[in-house]
Symmetry: D2
Subunit: 366 residues, 4 copies
Amino acid sequence: MAGSSLGIIFQLTTWGESHGAALGVVVDGCPAGLHLNEGDIQTYLNRRKPGQTKISTPRKEADDVQILSGIFEGKTTGTPISMLVKNTSQHSGDYREIAGYYRPGHADYTFDQKYGFRDYRGGGRSSGRETIGRVAAGAVAAKVLSQFGIQLCAYTKSIGPITVSMENFDRKAILETPTAMPDRNASSLAEKYLADCMKDYDSAGGVIECVIDGVPAGLGDPVFEKLDANLAKAVMSIGAVKAVEIGDGTDVSLHHGSTNNDSFRIQDGRIVKASNHAGGILGGISDGSRIILRAHVKPTPSIFSPQQTVNQQGEEIEISIKGRHDPIIVPRAVVVVESMAAITILDALMVNASARIENLKKIYTT
Amino acid sequence: MAGSSLGIIFQLTTWGESHGAALGVVVDGCPAGLHLNEGDIQTYLNRRKPGQTKISTPRKEADDVQILSGIFEGKTTGTPISMLVKNTSQHSGDYREIAGYYRPGHADYTFDQKYGFRDYRGGGRSSGRETIGRVAAGAVAAKVLSQFGIQLCAYTKSIGPITVSMENFDRKAILETPTAMPDRNASSLAEKYLADCMKDYDSAGGVIECVIDGVPAGLGDPVFEKLDANLAKAVMSIGAVKAVEIGDGTDVSLHHGSTNNDSFRIQDGRIVKASNHAGGILGGISDGSRIILRAHVKPTPSIFSPQQTVNQQGEEIEISIKGRHDPIIVPRAVVVVESMAAITILDALMVNASARIENLKKIYTT
Amino acid sequence: MAGSSLGIIFQLTTWGESHGAALGVVVDGCPAGLHLNEGDIQTYLNRRKPGQTKISTPRKEADDVQILSGIFEGKTTGTPISMLVKNTSQHSGDYREIAGYYRPGHADYTFDQKYGFRDYRGGGRSSGRETIGRVAAGAVAAKVLSQFGIQLCAYTKSIGPITVSMENFDRKAILETPTAMPDRNASSLAEKYLADCMKDYDSAGGVIECVIDGVPAGLGDPVFEKLDANLAKAVMSIGAVKAVEIGDGTDVSLHHGSTNNDSFRIQDGRIVKASNHAGGILGGISDGSRIILRAHVKPTPSIFSPQQTVNQQGEEIEISIKGRHDPIIVPRAVVVVESMAAITILDALMVNASARIENLKKIYTT
Amino acid sequence: MAGSSLGIIFQLTTWGESHGAALGVVVDGCPAGLHLNEGDIQTYLNRRKPGQTKISTPRKEADDVQILSGIFEGKTTGTPISMLVKNTSQHSGDYREIAGYYRPGHADYTFDQKYGFRDYRGGGRSSGRETIGRVAAGAVAAKVLSQFGIQLCAYTKSIGPITVSMENFDRKAILETPTAMPDRNASSLAEKYLADCMKDYDSAGGVIECVIDGVPAGLGDPVFEKLDANLAKAVMSIGAVKAVEIGDGTDVSLHHGSTNNDSFRIQDGRIVKASNHAGGILGGISDGSRIILRAHVKPTPSIFSPQQTVNQQGEEIEISIKGRHDPIIVPRAVVVVESMAAITILDALMVNASARIENLKKIYTT
């Protein structure tokens, strides 16, 4: 594929630049018969909307979604769902200056090298606004998954050195704190940390965690379409993510088999695991327990303090980035991680439907 | 796809079970005109062969590769290269016992849930022997990449708490130490650590790092076929890998933009980066500097100490695994990580060949 | 895939229903650096626009295209090109009646069987308006191909029993006759034939031929991505096409090897074929001579004369279709066939760019 | 993809050259739980085996299949099924001569143009022996389809001017006549026609028809993965096929809507069509009636009479092909067409399993 499509059966294709007319996504392969309306999508998009808190860019965008196809009488028809969000708050003038040089930590240089030139306005296709299409598709996927009792929950796990305490876990806080942390106390500390960053004209990074409950055992296809492999791809494809962990993740290298293995046992007549170091995936296939993943997100590369770089004429220069930028990407990226996870789980669920002769007989015998 | 194929243009399809007649791979899309013979493949396969050191399973397998198609007069023809390795040292009897229960940390339970039953002999398709196909394909990819000055080097970064010192970096040690560490001193310590694990009937985990030099800027396709996203998928698809990092990886969350951004500067008339926190990839596209990735590998799940589990009758039982198992997966997986990286980089390089009109004109104007 | 995407590197994804808000296409993988504007697309779309002649539906649609992404400073950037056409002349009321029964020759019944219900307005996704996305993408592909001296020309070969004479071939007539025939005399006869059909409340079929000049030898990938196989799929995927021929097509079964084989000979120092029964493709790979294909198109299924069918209640009924319908699909489908051929040829050309090590060296050695 | 793989869920990858060590196929995505053994495959392969009749090449090949993976305790496990046939009767010496020139009607020239050189022995990858992999995969697909009451039947429809009479249809004759015709009388006439061709050192073409019964309504995905589009691709990808028809095929252009439309009616309480001009597919989706397709096959290009061509030195020469060649491709290609149809139908059936929310609920609700 050419890079803007993802998925085997449930397939999304995103398009659009930061300062073009609009951005959007085509969701193809969505099963027919799902009640879906623009409100379902907007709820998700609002979670990544800028301009809502002190730690987010003051740029205001309505980000109102329109559904242009694939829905009839309130239900998905099985045909592609085209969704579009218009760009309304572009200050392209702000970017005239950056046209001629390469911002450190951005994709300016690599786009130029790849394509010979680039749409420099607001990062063009490499802008964070590109994730609008992902989130709109994620909202659709999450709604399908909810029909099968599958629930996703992503949140900020840490910002700089401030980590949430899972004992304080408060799901409502995710949507109510500016940090998207599920721990109001940690959130306050993180806000103070970010305020200090901003004072220093600097930015911060953090960690996003996503947990998924209710996933039936059996999703994921050995050996390359493993569920963890596809989650890793989906999440690593989000700009600024530099590491992905499943379950205990990087900690496994310090453990022994005796402490890392999850024993099986019987509970209420069903097979369950006594622990979940594996994060719900064994051999690339979901094992019926909670799926757990984490994304490590780098600090916003657009900072106001001076930086060394070069321009297109090959001269070394000092720059100072202007404009409207988030001091941290994490809080607004939480819903993006959740969306990418939803998309991946749903595709695996649909592909798995035909894994056995006896599954197919349930559908084709009437 | 059905899960056993990977790649868009340079595409591999692996097949085979641990205790079947053979395992193999079909490499399709390899460019024509590459000198290639079985020795090129065997060199790579030998790096993952068991029975060579004290810290590897005593199971001996010749793992001799045969090339069955795609080569004529010593060169690749552009048609699929089919490669096969016969299984010769299977003790299927060892596995009769495990047919009836679920080994913790293995894919026994999830395969049963997905497919309704499983080939229980040696893990069947979820065995580490499945990686033979990956490594054979990786050897082909690495040879193609070498034509373009691209060199890969993977090694063991750490085993349990023992980490190599990059100041001691000794490339020859990778192939000469039983740990595949590039630091003979760390290797000795790690061997001692593993000897202790084995004494305790336990196993250990570790970290594999892979660096890739000579990659031209421009490889990788936004937004889903990003180079880092595809590397993450390729590496996470290796059994036992639970986390993947690019560049500074998990450390980025503790940094600021001012310390994480890599400045650009001019060196010998060319644009280079003054540092490489990004690990050679910006916006999902290679930036011309060294690509760096790490895989975190869990401890071998097959341990000899007793474990709790359940059997297919739904009874809780205690088991004690027998047979021949590595106390650590890491050293033999080093070449697997290198192979998956080679496959991914080559596919990106081939896809990128047609990214610009002016590239196509170099080929189609005579 | 989910069915609305086509292509490996040059990939299109279409969306939209006849009576939804809009229809469109995302073209991904278009090489960067092509001058492109809405006029380039509109020229193609105008060739399939209704309401222009007596033998086309009187329904008038502006079908004005908007490009929403992927173009910057007048050139393609390498990122997805999203194009959209608004629906403006829907009379959905006309279709209320057909909601409850199955029109013969249409996809009403099969959509209901597949998805459980359907968007019955104007055929929904199975409407001929779906081809707008194909033609917009085809216009892009054709412009890329023109950079390499590749020219496509499709036309009506026959309508009912009236076949054009290739001796009279007049390329300008294709755009100037209502039949899209390259023979004004045949066109007059065909118009008369169609007038008779309309008088009988009936419809007619015909044949579309497409010739493609300037295609370099070497495009197409054995054994499943053969150029003829992909052309067959691309053209057969157009609604109403029931047969596809390459070169001499169905005639080959009556020939002998001695008459069907094309001899090679030398002309101006280059290898050429003395004849072209093969239609420019040998072993699934372009041979450098003219590519020739034909599509056989069934009569418009919407006819005004009474027909027998059943309704959703399972009752046999007689219906009489109303509304605005073309008496023949062929003339407006000519540009659709040309577009599908352009898309297929371009994708093969891009994929083929990395078929040889020496091709890649032209790009990656600087 | 790179060309040797086909299918979305049920996916085959073929490999092998005429004169290499072996040819084979990897079938991935086959649903688990199907009883399958080598006998199931051999029955199909025997139908394309050479050396069995006077009108087939006297070259004898055992073509014994080995299954190397994917089967355990007599059933498919859901993992890739690797199948291999050794080449045993190669006379590579016969081909030394043709190394230096281009045989008319063959892929010699196009392979050279694409890849820079070619495996000239017996046509290499473009040999008819390549179809062994297709037929082995087709045997698997057909056995899966039989679990759902879907039956395929392909046969020779015509050879040169001799066409079978459907009134004489005798299914057993397909396997018993050397022509694979279902009409013993026509077969005798065709044998005589072929004897005359052979006497003239010439070859003949013909038509293969395939009918498929029991296909449920609903298979095929608009707009590019239409069932007829994929059948066209699958069948056109067979070497020597130059045209593909669905249902009435090329005849549709001479019909009117009133005669080409199939009325719906009620029979035994179910909706059926009163006729089947459409060949079982409406809007690209199966309609529950018999699927009908035809492939037009060119005469064997290898003929013994003298032909004009050029050699690699660019000289015009006269050649006279030697070796062992069939005077007609059709009878041995019948099972190849049937196989490609089976593969296509099964993939569509598996993809369609997740087309509706309610289908998925049948599988995921326990």
